[in-house]
Symmetry: C2
Amino acid sequence: MEGKQISKSVLKRLPGYLAYLKNMPEDAPPNISATALATALGMGDVQVRKDLAMVSDGGRPKIGYQRDALIYDIEQFLGYDNTTDAVLIGAGKLGQALMGYKGFDEYGLNILAAFDQCPKSKKTEEGKPIYPIGKLSDFCLTHKVLMGIITVPAESAQEVADQLIAGGIKAIWNFAPTHLDVPGGILVQNENMATSLAVLSVHLQAQIKEEKEKVAIKK
Amino acid sequence: MEGKQISKSVLKRLPGYLAYLKNMPEDAPPNISATALATALGMGDVQVRKDLAMVSDGGRPKIGYQRDALIYDIEQFLGYDNTTDAVLIGAGKLGQALMGYKGFDEYGLNILAAFDQCPKSKKTEEGKPIYPIGKLSDFCLTHKVLMGIITVPAESAQEVADQLIAGGIKAIWNFAPTHLDVPGGILVQNENMATSLAVLSVHLQAQIKEEKEKVAIKK
């Protein structure tokens, strides 16, 4: 399936399919149709069918996909079989939580080391090294690291990004709630929790307003 | 500005504007135009102008917005001035990181308590209580909690969601990498790190391929 152009929105739906397929009970039937997957995830039939066809040619009419083969094809497509080395900058609570998250192995992500302005210890709980931030660019160049994970406060994030780019990094996973200026060819993926909170907060406001109106009508 | 219909995509851009405006240096001019904001964030002029007009009527031709007033209007719109009480389920590393994250105050989010299958201690580092999960629904009903934050493993997430809904919750912030089935009127906001990793991973694969091709041409 190599070389097929795929849109970012398809890309963003693939991990959802993967999570569902991998979490199915062991005694589930070995085959699954695009329709069954769509129903389970509350998505459109046609969309799921098209998405799966982009990454796997294992679909058979009336039979569907062999589940294991489909999992393999999606993982292959997402590059989870190639390990990506990464560094993490900002060994605070969020940084430590990410360093300790075992699920990343499954996605082929390997965090080699953490960096911090003033490291409080030399190692994380998992035994990975924590270096002073001055060594960041050199470390990335020496170890040919391509991905940096930024978990520093907003005001230091741009400086860290600049050092990562000087170290030859090609992709940044940004948890700092700020915009980063980067040259072309560098991808920034913002993990913006504020964005999610905004969506939740506005939904709750609408719900509260509705409840109040109901109460007012009853009165 | 109450009552204006706003799309989810506008909603998702507002926290970005807010973060930029709040991070501006103290000696920056008191006014900012939509154009200046668009340039700084690498976004389209027209889009930013329209978005801001949805939440604030403080824009003046040739002068722009008064920065403090614009910050106030966006925060007001997003409901950051009303505090939302929430509970968090799953007091593992990610859960603890979220409990300890001070930035949430700024968004009007107040995590009252954590719940865990087998609490290892009775309090978080910040002194918030950790209760056994059996008390979840009752706690939500008693304290009229409207938001639940799920940081348990994928296989327990649906069960936790059901208990939250039984407790009268209206919005779920889901960090478990799985799909949740919920009745209408309940909003689920998925914080799917796997999605971000997929985007980053595919970008890096393309970059590596490009580098290899360059090397091959040189040979």
